[in-house]
Subunit: 215 residues, 2 copies
């Protein structure tokens, strides 16, 4: 399947839904499902059918009227459009509990997000082997990045060390950062940062439950 | 400070920004800052000043013209409006690496999200002590929930066990679920679910980097 995306400007909300479609489609593929039509796919994803058809139209025409979408073709096409049909090599900065959990999270590697370097500034952690990788000093990240061919950085430090971690990642020439630290970081404009913020989700639940009078 | 929210319908995007404001304000408070005006606050949060003023207007008037906002008053007011100025008691289902990392994540308890029960269906894990809590059988969650006064559930199981975990949580009468499992779950309409999806963030980074031609 070589259909190119119709538009290079896929809105952020669409990317979020595409990630969900991939998740659901991969679960279907694991269950042996080969073809799916947009309505059941939509239902499994928690959106409506016309939204699914509109989102998938970004990549051209896949669906066969009256038949549906080939699951494997659709997964490949979405991954191709998003740029995730390849390996992304990542450095993890912060070898604490969360860092360890992410290293052990089989889904990262299974989806092509391969952590190839682990860094920490704690002398007691440097030299330790975590998931087959030797923890290195964060100061050495800029020197190691080209050799390890790193394209993304993950920050799992405490909040007060997040900016320092970000500085080392930027200094290493890495332009994509996923951060789990509960702190805002400052980076040059050409660097993309994604924040995984557990608390915004917890606050949304607390707010909904408080408003609903069920608390 | 007893100012009530002006409106009960705070949009989702606003809640997300309020969570960021609280994070930044708490870091400022830790650094000894007592008063902040909207523009530096906005800059630290990565939004513009008029957005901050508009968001904070949901809760009434706090800012003193030419002076700014009292950091402690603003934190308390936002937390009060969101319903997070209290303890939320939580059950964690899935005692693996990610579950352990969340149990050890000091910020949860510090922000009032207190995990008081840990559940797993693996007989080898049941009975183990994790962060001072004995891992219990997930089947026992409905029986334990009232005694432990649980108001929220966290799912950190593998994807194929997420639905079963959700069923137990719902059966326990819990109406708020935060799930880290990469799978969609089905729950009755009165139950709120928040998905923490690492991959949508990674896909957004991969897409941005692929489009930018830097990959």
């Amino acid at each position: 399947m070589t259909t190119a995306p119709k538009s290079k400007h896929i809105p952020r909300a669409t990317i979020q839904r595409l990630a969900i479609y991939v998740q659901v489609l991969e679960n279907l593929a694991r269950d042996g499902v080969e073809v799916v039509s947009s309505n059941p796919l939509a239902e499994a994803c928690g959106v409506n059918g016309s939204q699914v058809r509109k989102d998938l139209a970004y990549f051209g025409e896949f669906g066969v009227r009256g038949v549906g979408y080939r699951v494997d073709v659709l997964i490949a096409a979405i991954k191709n459009a998003l740029g995730v049909n390849r390996e992304w090599r990542m450095a993890l900065v912060g070898a604490g509990n969360l860092g360890r959990a992410i290293l052990n999270h089989g889904d990262f590697r299974a989806r092509g997000f391969n952590i190839v370097g682990v860094f920490d500034c704690d002398p007691f952690k440097i030299g330790e082997i975590m998931h087959g990788l030797e923890v290195r000093c964060t100061d050495d990240l800029p020197a190691c990045a080209p050799e390890l061919d790193i394209q993304m950085g993950i920050i799992t430090t405490p909040p007060e060390r997040a900016q320092r971690a970000a500085n080392h990642i930027v200094e290493a020439g890495i332009t994509s950062i996923l951060t789990f630290a509960p702190a805002r970081i400052k980076v040059p404009e050409h660097v993309h940062v994604e924040y995984v913020d557990f608390f915004h989700h917890l606050y949304a639940l607390a707010f909904a439950q408080t408003q609903g009078g069920r608390a």
